[in-house]
């Protein structure tokens, strides 16, 4: 990695819809993404991820600030965004009634490929993603995950140095997910492509990303490698306790924990130092509390824990699955 080549020295503030009260969807966001990196934007719903991406892709003008992609000023020349990046949005309504093959081919044509190239790239991409058997079917008739994969295929036809993917794997089965990440990796290895990924899936964030920025209420609250972020909350482990019916509050040790847990029905979640965690596990697996215990897990911190530890607004913002 030869460092910094793409800079978003951005100071962005976006006023929301006037009908509601002013919402700053992105507030003074400053991010630097390096060339050839898979960079993730992580955050709960409404954190401002999509707004940020819309500003990067030239779909929305920021109120303030600047966006620079590979040496091009996108705020001043928003039309250049379309010539430098491929964007996979969350909506497929523009392609829904086309066949998979025509959707990919048309998108290629609209990226400036001539008919022959568009067809050749279409065939290559559909083959790469295992979509060839579905090529003749309209997107509308496909399942959610297959439709998403077809949209992803369209985004890949016509080479672009930057891929902006807004939750690309929503609804996909593991095979399709693997196809997506394989294709992304190949574009990076062979073409040096940079990838900006929006997600609220922490498992995916941990496995595929080089670096992650955690967004909360329009602000970047952390930005590092997944491992680096996890180190910030190192020393804590998560203990999940699931009770059979209700927590045995008559046990003094259990009652003492009560004001430190995040309670969700029969489930108690605790973030503790390893020593404490060991003591808690010893308490609940022996004696009176054990009779009331259904299940328990002990886990090292995930990105979800990082997010919560950093003071994310939503208590259950990130989906873990």
């Amino acid at each position: 990695m030869r460092g910094l080549t793409k800079t978003y020295p951005a100071v962005r503030g976006r006023r929301g819809v006037p009908a509601t009260s002013e919402v700053r969807a992105t507030d003074d966001v400053t991010l630097d993404i390096r060339r050839g990196e898979i960079f993730g934007l992580l955050g709960p719903n409404g954190a401002g991820k999509t707004t940020l991406v819309r500003q990067l892709t030239g779909l929305m003008r920021p109120d303030r600030g600047s966006v620079e992609i590979l040496g091009h000023d996108i705020v001043r020349h928003p039309e250049r965004a379309a010539r430098i990046l491929a964007y996979l949005g969350q909506e497929s309504s523009a392609l829904d009634e086309l066949t998979v093959s025509l959707a990919a081919e048309t998108t290629g044509r609209l990226r400036g490929l001539d008919a022959g190239r568009a067809r050749a790239e279409r065939d290559a991409v559909l083959d790469e993603l295992g979509l060839t058997p579905l090529a003749g079917r309209p997107l509308k008739k496909l399942s959610g995950g297959q439709r998403r994969l077809a949209c992803f295929a369209s985004a890949l036809v016509g080479r672009r140095p930057l891929l902006v993917l807004d939750e690309p794997t929503t609804g996909m089965d593991p095979v399709a997910r693997r196809a997506v990440w394989g294709a992304v990796d190949r574009r990076r290895a062979e073409q040096g492509a940079t990838v900006l990924l929006v997600t609220h899936n922490v498992i995916e964030a941990e496995t595929v990303l080089d670096r992650v920025a955690v967004l909360d209420r329009g602000r970047v609250i952390a930005c590092d490698t997944p491992t680096g972020l996890k180190e910030q909350v190192a020393g804590e482990v998560r203990v999940d306790l699931v009770w059979r019916e209700t927590a045995p509050l008559h046990v003094p040790e259990v009652a003492a924990l009560r004001d430190r847990v995040a309670e969700s029905g029969r489930r108690w979640t605790l973030r503790l130092a390893p020593e404490e965690a060991r003591a808690v596990v010893a308490t609940v697996t022996g004696g009176a509390a054990f009779a009331a215990l259904d299940d328990f897990t002990l886990a090292t911190p995930s990105l979800e824990d990082v997010y919560l530890a950093l003071g994310g607004a939503a208590q259950q913002g990130l989906v873990k699955a």
Binding site: L4, R54, G58, L70, G71, L110, V220, D224
Partner: protein
């Protein structure tokens, strides 16, 4: 892999450690014509998948109106107006009503983002879609016109004029439909406007003009479909006055150019919010 901790906190700018490489090469700008053809082709295939039942509805509606009107009008000029009006009504149904709905929904659902993030001239998207919808009216309009001529005993000799009427009335109505769809703040409103436009084309185009009050006739003159109807109706006469036919078609063409330009502007406005 980069494991350099990035000091990225709100408001802080990162120090640039290495000289910034020169700007990346931009992808090609797609030229108008290939982009238009690609959009046209895609839209036509969409129409084939999703719009065939609606096309039947449009055709049957017009044929039904002609059968009803047969008991009311007594041939001659009125019959010509009914046949011409019903034929152009098919164009209004598809090009104005359905296109307004399509763009209204596309805008509301965020589907315009797809086109807006491709290096496509806005005119290509609007003209491609409008052209596809206008083309799709061809079979219905021809069937309606032939059926009407047979029903009312009108000459089939000048039906070739449809070759000019369909694209020009189609351009005017599709441009109007696209503009309404893209300008309407909500998709329901786009649907409503499209329906109203079609109802106006139905009432003002099919019913004979000389039985209408002055105010309604004035409204009729404002509707672009009227000129398509009149141009077509004139050709049923024994000695059509081609100058008037050309004049009416020129109005359609003019309205088409203006409304498509407005629609293109509306698209640009809707695409970048």
């Amino acid at each position: 892999m980069s494991v350099v901790p990035a000091e990225v906190l709100p408001g802080s700018a990162l120090a640039v450690e290495e000289p910034v490489r020169e700007a990346a090469e931009l992808g090609p700008r797609t030229r108008l014509w290939p982009a238009l053809v690609a959009v046209y082709r895609a839209q036509l295939s969409r129409a084939r998948v999703a719009r065939i039942p609606l096309l039947f509805v449009a055709t049957f509606q017009s044929i039904g109106i002609m059968i009803l009107m047969r008991g009311v009008v007594d041939g001659g000029g009125e019959a010509q107006a009914v046949v011409a009006g019903s034929s152009v009504l098919v164009v209004a149904f598809v090009a104005l009503n359905l296109l307004a709905q399509y763009f209204g929904q596309l805008r509301a659902s965020g589907g315009l983002d797809h086109y807006a993030t491709l290096p496509v001239p806005p005119a290509a998207v609007v003209l491609g879609a409008a052209g596809a919808y206008a083309s799709f009216t061809v079979p219905g309009t021809v069937v309606t016109a032939v059926f009407g001529c047979v029903l009312f005993g009108l000459p089939l000799a000048h039906l070739w004029v449809l070759v000019a009427v369909i694209p020009l009335a189609g351009a005017a109505l599709a441009g109007l439909g696209a503009a309404l769809g893209l300008l309407a703040p909500r998709p329901e409103l786009a649907t409503l406007l499209g329906q109203l436009g079609m109802s106006a084309a139905l009432l003002l185009g099919v019913l004979p003009a000389d039985r209408m009050p002055e105010a309604v006739r004035f409204t009729r003159d404002l509707l672009p479909s009227t000129y398509g109807v009149e141009a077509f109706a004139r050709t049923f006469g024994p000695h059509p006055d081609w100058a008037f036919v050309l004049g009416d078609l020129a109005v359609c063409g003019g309205v088409g150019v203006v409304s498509l330009a407005v629609a293109t502007w509306a698209y640009r406005r809707a695409a970048v919010r």
